[in-house]
Structures are given as C-alpha cells and as structure tokens.
C-alpha cells in the first residue's frame, strides 16, 4: 500500500492527573522533543506535522493546531489537524503514515495530546445537540449497556472485567509513563470500589490524564536508528444511528481488522500477532475486542481473558503498557497504542517488553464504537 513507512522515534510524557508545570504547548513539545531525540533528529529534519486531539471543547481551545504551530516547529511547513473522536490518536498516526506511503514527504512528526485538567471531559461528553435528550453521563454511561448486552450474549461471569482491570494495572507498574500506579492492586480492591455505571466499577474505568505522545515517521530512505515497519493501516467508520447496528461487535471494527490483517498477511491474529495495544477504556472491552478483532471466536473472548492468555507473560499479551485503563489523555490514547506497538517490535519497551515481539497491533476506537483505526507494525521490512 504505497511506499514503505517506518516509526523511527517515539516520545511520551509522564501521564498524570494534572500537569500544572506546563502549558498545552509545553506538553506537546515535551513529547515531540523526546520522539525527535529517539530518532536522533531535530525539528529541522521534519517535513510536516500532523496533530490530533479529541474535541476542542475539552480544553476550550478552538482548532489548537494554529496556536501549537510554534511549539512544534511547524512554522514554514505543512501542518494538519485530525479529529476522529476517541480513535483520533490512531487516525493521526495513519494520516502521518499516509504522507510517507503516498510519497509526499520523507519525515513526518505526529503528535496527539489531551490536557484534561484544563477541562471537564465528562461534562463535554454529555453535551448534546438541542432536541436530542441526553440519557447518559460521559462515555461510561454510553458504553455500559453495550457491555451488559455482551455479558448477556456470551454468558461471561461478572469477574472478567475485574481480571482485566488488575492485569492492566499490574502492567502499568512496569511502565514509567503510566498514570495509574496502584501497588498491591488485586481483584478485591477493584471489587471494593463504587459502581459507576453498572457493571463498570470505579477501578474498571480509565482515568482522566494530562499527556501527549509523539512519533516520528519516515520513508525507507530516510530511516534512522531502530525502525518499526508499518505492515498495514486501516480506518473504518459506520453511522452511530442505524437500525440493526451491532454495538457489541461493530462491523466497522471487524472490517478494519480484516483490512489491516490482509495487508500484513495475517490469517490467525492470535498466533501471528505477538503483542497488541488495544483501546480498552473500560475493562470489559478487552473480551469484547478479543472477539471483534478475531483473537477469539464469538462468545469466547472472556475465556481467553480468564485463562491469562492476555497477561504480559501469556501467549497473546494485550496492553503490556497498562493500556488506556492506566493512562487516558483522550486525544493521545490512540496514538499511545500505536506508539507502544512500535516500541514493542523495536525491542524498546523496557520492563514491559514482550520477549521476542516481532509483530504488533495498534488499535483505537471512538465515537459510539463506530470509528476504528488500526495498524500492524513489525520488526522486519514488509
């Protein structure tokens, strides 16, 4: 699919509830400089900047790319802004990759961020257009019924979500950038936390984080250091309102996975993908996405989770970084999945490195589980 593209630099900020020490510009610049350092480059080596974030209403800055041009060394260069709801971090990486694959640029800086402390995301997410009643509060209120339907269909026992919450938080303890580090986390602790949106408990949901993530993408001839090669990219969207839409396992997710697997030559994702960074903002989305992404048959995803297969030392580790459950700067969360997938195949994931990872999936979803962005990265050239 076009020219070869590689991730040659990854930069992240330490995700946390409030970064009072930096402005939004300071935050994105921190991630960008770390990505450039990783790639052994400077802003001068970058041809274009692509920036992504979730809705502008989160920080109250309209089209913040205009203000951020200076901090990201974009002056004199092309700069684009992507917004595809929660999947935006993934889509932003794909737009950056597209600029390389389409032969337009040699090196592109991709940055995504959210500074949730300068806003109230749950409130911003609960605003609806006039004349349509809002029956939900925040994303959890929207997704909880879909989770309950998954439980009904699959017969999954109630503790599966707890297992994911514990597993991802244990992984987060090994990730220096993770927001939630909860020593001694166990099932009992998760179960003792308040119910927010049945069946989602407090510790089964993602935190609100400040943070930014950046990657440097390059063409084959401009690659430096240790590249992670892009083997496939895909986006899919479906309408939020459509009679018969399956919100438990959306068709757009299945189609997106099928497209990206076809490009990467993957017939059996569970066997061929060594590690997956999947957008799981509520613990129950792990078993749901295991099925949607073809890692498990319909109704079988929760069994895979229960067996420990998705743990860091399991045979198909999911969210070795701690995932969205441990760090959630919304606009950046998708890009973090894509960047962590790249770190894994570059062998640079530190303590949460999956031994011998050669092929990784980065996944993001957004809107009413209707927008999907995915890529497969590998250690070998495609």
């Amino acid at each position: 699919m076009g020219n070869r593209c590689a991730v040659i630099g990854v930069g992240q900020t330490h995700y946390t509830t409030k970064r009072r020490d930096v402005s939004i510009a300071g935050l994105v610049r921190e991630a960008a400089l770390r990505a450039l350092e990783d790639a052994g480059l400077t802003f001068k080596d970058i041809d274009a900047v692509v920036i992504g974030k979730a809705p502008d209403l989160f920080e109250g800055v309209m089209m913040p790319e205009a203000y951020l041009a200076d901090a990201l060394g974009a002056a004199g260069k092309p700069m684009m802004r992507v917004h595809t709801a929660g999947s935006v971090g993934g889509s932003t990486a794909l737009v950056g990759a597209s600029l390389i694959q389409g032969g337009v640029h040699e090196r592109v800086l991709v940055v995504a961020f959210e500074k949730q402390s300068e806003s109230n995301a749950t409130w911003a997410l609960s605003t609806h257009l006039p004349f349509s009643a809002s029956l939900v509060v925040g994303a959890g209120g929207y997704f909880a019924p879909h989770i309950r339907e998954y439980m009904r269909r699959s017969g999954a026992p109630g503790h599966i979500g707890t297992l994911v919450a514990v597993k991802d938080r244990l992984n987060a303890l090994k990730n220096p950038y993770a927001h939630l580090k909860i020593p001694g986390i166990d099932q009992k602790m998760v179960e003792s936390t308040p119910m927010l949106w049945e069946p989602i408990r407090y510790l089964e949901t993602c935190p609100s984080s400040d943070g930014a993530c950046a990657i440097v993408l390059s063409s084959e001839s401009a690659a430096t250091g240790t590249p992670a090669w892009v083997h496939g990219t895909a986006m899919r969207s479906e309408p939020i309102f459509r009679a018969g839409r399956d919100t438990v396992s959306p068709q757009a997710g299945k189609d997106c996975a099928a497209d990206v697997y076809r490009q990467a030559g993957i017939a059996d994702p569970r066997r061929q993908i060594d590690v997956a960074e999947v957008y799981v903002p509520f613990s129950w989305y792990e078993p749901m996405w295991l099925e949607n992404l073809g890692f498990a048959a319909e109704g079988e995803g929760w069994k895979l989770t229960e067996s420990g297969a998705t743990a860091l030392d399991g045979d198909t580790p999911w969210n070795a970084s701690g995932g969205v459950l441990s760090s959630n700067p919304i606009g950046a969360s998708g890009l973090i999945r894509f960047a962590e997938a790249a770190l894994q195949v570059r062998g640079m994931a530190g303590e949460h490195q999956v031994d011998g990872a050669r092929t990784a999936l980065g996944h993001a979803y957004g809107g009413g589980a209707q927008f999907f962005a995915m890529w497969i990265v590998g250690r070998e050239r495609p």
């Binding site: 510009a25 205009a66 041009a69 684009m80 969207s237 809107g367």
Partner: protein, 339 residues
C-alpha cells in the same frame, strides 16, 4: 505523483441565516448530488472538514456521518479544519495507488453563534484569547499593516458582491455603501457575511476520472504551509506561507486564468494576489468569493470546487484555488488545476 482529478462538485445555496436545517441535513443534498453526477455510490476514501465550535457541541461531525449512509462501513477520516484540508488528506490517500476515488465534504453553520467571538477561542489560550481580541479586530490589525488604498478595497468588495449576485449559490448582497467602520480600518462592508453552507467534491484517479467527467480538473499541484501563530512574529502585510505553498504547488509554471481565493476581507485578496504572484489578467473570485458567501469550514473547499468548475465547463484550462486557516491567514493551502 499519481494523476488525480476533481470530477464532481456540489454546494448548497448558501444562506445568511439559519434555515432550521441541522448540519447533516445541509450535507445530505450535496453528497447526493455528487453521487448522482458521478454515478458512484461507494468511494475508496471519505474525508470531511468541520469545526465543533460552530455547532457548539463536541463530535458534531459524528451526526454528519449519518448523512452519508456509511453502510457497509467506509474508510473515513475527518479534519477539524476547512474541507480544503480534507481534500488534501484524500489526495494524499489516493497517492498510495490502491484506491481510485474519494469523497470530500466540508460544512458549517456560522449562524448558530457569534462567529467573531468564537474565533477568539482559536488564539493562544493563555496570552491572547483572554484579551478578547475578536476576529474583526485581528483582521483589522492586518488591514492596517497592509495600508491598502481605500478605492482598491472598495473595488474588491463591489466586484465580489456583483459576482456573488450572479452566482446562484452565493448571497444577494447589495452594492456596498456607507462609510461606517466595523473596526478601523475595516468598514462594515469589508466584513464577510455570516453564512451557512456545505460543499462536496469527488476525486478520481487516472482512467476513472476520464470515465466520470469529459473535462476532469486535474490536480497538478497542491501544497500547504503554516506560519507562527503570534501576529508579532509575522510580517502581517505579506503571506510567506501562501507564497511558499504557491511555489510548492507550481502556480507560476503557467498562466492562471482564474484564481479562487479564500480572502475573507478585501485586504486579504491584495496580500494573496502578491503571494501567489497572480498577474493582472487573472480573474479573481468570479464566484464572488468569501465576501459574497462565507460558509466557514466549507469556504476553502468551495474555492477548489469553483476553480474546478471553470475547467469542467470548458471556460478555463488552468485555474488556482486557495484556502486559509488560522488568524490572519496563518495557514494557506494552494491547489493548481488543469484541463
């Protein structure tokens, strides 16, 4: 680069008031029109441009997707920018070589809020936005920096409004009269009208383009550049980014018969003519331009569509379209189209 052409363009009959249509209701007819024009029902890629702040609600583009009947699921993306950048993203996607068509659209309803004040929120949130500098004020700073001849500015407004009156999609604005200032040196008649509207374009590659339109408008160059955000860091009377984008797109490689410029104020046209090195024989904004209809987030895409239309109808063989974003023309995108 792979050959990509504009093969269909549709726009709403833009209005200066809220007609009661929701954003997705604005979009549906123009999408239907370009589907009919091309006979295509599915596209290799779809990309749109809009801005949540116009609707005053997050994720306003989500309901726009419902207008597309995106089923089975489609390969789709969105830029929180003018639809012109959505077209750029689609053009890049078509360069991969695996798909041969793309649908692009842009939309916005400025009538829902106070656009001049909303645009303040685009400024640096710590140092500039709290000052309350509104869109007219910062445009006036640039107009003062240009220091253009009043008669020249008046002529631009008069010409734009006259052209707009003969364009069925633009607004019917009267001959400008009155010396009242909006913000000095901008007169009330220098201010673009509040406008609601949408536009859609279909892109196609190589052979498919030839099959879909007898005169495809081939994209021979397309490029965009940004400048620093802070007005104090820029030479406001000039547009270095528009000049760079024009050079990268190859504007001066041939004569330009028609240029559609995203000039929201008359002084911006003067800046852009110079940046794009347009000669005196280039017809500027025969559609009336943004001074005759300014559907924010679609206005840049409309410029590309209008420039393509001249090639589609055989009245021009080489045209240029320009789109802008950010305060005082901070970002500029230039497209060169040929028959």
């Amino acid at each position: 680069m792979r050959d990509v052409a504009i093969v269909a363009f549709a726009q709403t009959r833009h209005t200066d008031h809220d007609t009661g249509l929701a954003e997705h209701e604005l979009i549906h007819p123009v999408i239907s029109e370009v589907k009919e024009l091309t006979g295509l029902k599915r596209f290799g890629f779809t990309c749109s441009g809009s801005c949540d702040y116009l609707a005053g609600a997050p994720f306003s583009f989500v309901s726009a997707l419902d207008a597309l009947a995106a089923w089975p699921p489609i390969s789709e993306s969105h830029v929180e920018m003018d639809g012109a950048w959505a077209l750029y993203e689609a053009w890049v996607r078509l360069q991969h070589g695996d798909i041969d068509s793309a649908l692009v659209y842009g939309f916005g309803k400025s009538s829902l809020g106070d656009l001049r004040t909303i645009m303040t929120l685009q400024l640096d949130p710590y140092y500039l936005a709290p000052l309350g500098l509104d869109q007219l004020s910062y445009a006036a700073l640039q107009a003062a920096a240009v220091g253009a001849d009043r008669q020249e500015l008046d002529e631009i407004v008069r010409r734009s409004r006259a052209d707009g009156r003969s364009n069925p999609y633009a607004l019917d604005l009267p001959e400008p009269d009155g010396d009242d200032f909006a913000v000095q040196p901008l007169r009330k008649t220098d201010v673009p009208p509040i406008t609601d509207g949408a536009a859609a374009i279909v892109l196609a590659t190589g052979d498919l383009a030839g099959r879909l339109h007898p005169n495809p408008a081939w994209i021979r160059g397309i490029a965009h550049r940004t400048e620093p955000h802070y007005l104090g860091l820029r030479e406001l009377a000039r547009s270095a980014s528009a000049a760079d984008a024009a050079r990268a797109a190859g504007v001066t490689k041939g004569p330009v018969e028609v240029a559609e410029l995203h000039a929201q104020f008359p002084h911006e046209e003067i800046i852009l003519r110079q940046a794009l090195e347009l000669g005196g024989d280039t017809v500027i904004n025969p559609s009336g331009g943004p001074l005759a209809a300014n559907p924010v987030m679609a206005a840049g895409l409309v410029r590309i569509g209008e420039a393509a239309r001249r090639i589609h109808d055989g009245t021009a063989s080489r045209t240029v379209a320009h789109a802008a974003s950010g305060p005082c023309l901070q970002q500029n995108l230039v497209t060169v189209l040929e028959a």
